[in-house]
């Protein structure tokens, strides 16, 4: 009798655990994370674009003044993935999620 009662409890616990794990895996995908983007920015972008978004090289946009940020996230993602001109490409090196995090961070640099 005991066994019959325990099995449904275990099954329910398993289901809840699975559901929780699915949520944990899905959460980071659901929204861009500017804090995570900040880390990628510091590592990959800061040398040229500056710690506060003020470009360190001529010809680059000043993110602190919102330059270059009027484009959609999709356009910016393509730009970062494939590069253009002085901007190198990050495809295969940063995931789309990482790039969206960077874009979210870029949008916080405007003063």
């Amino acid at each position: 009798m005991n066994k019959i009662m325990i099995r449904p409890r275990v099954s329910a616990a398993m289901m809840w655990t699975l559901l929780l794990c699915c949520c944990l895996v899905a959460l980071p995908v659901s929204a861009a994370n500017p804090q995570q983007g900040s880390k990628f920015y510091t590592k990959n972008c800061q040398n040229c674009h500056g710690a506060t978004g003020v470009a360190q090289m001529p010809g680059l946009p000043d993110f602190s003044r919102g330059q270059g940020l009027l484009s959609s996230d999709n356009d910016l993602m393509q730009f970062i993935r494939n590069g253009r001109g002085m901007m190198p490409a990050f495809r295969g090196l940063l995931s789309d999620r990482d790039i969206l995090d960077v874009i979210a961070y870029l949008r916080t640099l405007r003063r």
Binding site: V10, A13, M14, T17, L18, C21, L24, V25, K43, N44, R81, N82, G83, R84, G85, M86, M87, P88, A89, F90, R91, G92, L93, S95
Partner: protein, 177 residues
């Protein structure tokens, strides 16, 4: 309860396996360049060490990478400036499909030797590349002297002169590239 514990352990292990392993550090200038076995776009194999005794300019590129496409013609001309026994220009393409790279090179009349890394294993895991393009200048003894990220004008006088001096035994100017 033991089955529940087992399930939890398995799930924790699965979740930890989902975490991406951190990329290796980028290669340091001054260290020996890794011994790479490269597969050509024509599927022939070559070891990077086979080029010992010559300066090597190894460019890592892709057809989808705008600045990579822009600098290929300059690299082609750079290779023609130097004698074959002085300096050789090589390409390492990271397109998923080597056929696309072959067609692109044919279309652009790029003839320097190109190799394929469709999984980006060499680029990411062995070379620690952070951006494309990335170009490595390797001395005849196999020492990596410069890792140059981003597009360059490879036939500018500054670049050609720095490489000429390096070939002649003075590699100091390479740092300005």
């Amino acid at each position: 309860m033991s089955s529940l514990r087992c399930l939890l352990i398995v799930l924790v292990l699965l979740l930890s396996a989902c975490e991406q392993s951190p990329p290796p550090d980028a290669l340091s200038e001054g260290q020996l360049f890794p011994a790479l076995r490269l597969t050509g776009l024509d599927r022939s194999n070559v070891d990077i060490d086979d080029f010992r005794g010559r300066w090597v300019v190894l460019n890592v590129w892709a057809t989808w990478c705008g600045p990579c496409r822009e600098e290929l013609a300059g690299l082609q001309q750079l290779g023609q400036v130097f004698a074959d026994d002085e300096l050789v220009v090589l390409g390492l393409n990271v397109d998923d499909d080597p056929h696309i790279a072959r067609e692109f090179l044919r279309d652009q009349a790029i003839s320097f030797a190109n190799y394929s890394d469709p999984e980006m294993f060499i680029a990411r895991q062995l070379l620690g590349i952070r951006v494309f393009p990335d170009t490595f200048v390797i001395a005849p003894d196999g020492t990596l002297l410069r890792s140059i990220t981003g597009e360059r004008d490879w036939i500018s006088s500054a670049v050609v002169n720095a490489l000429r001096k390096a070939v002649d035994g003075q590699s100091g100017d390479l740092q300005s590239l």
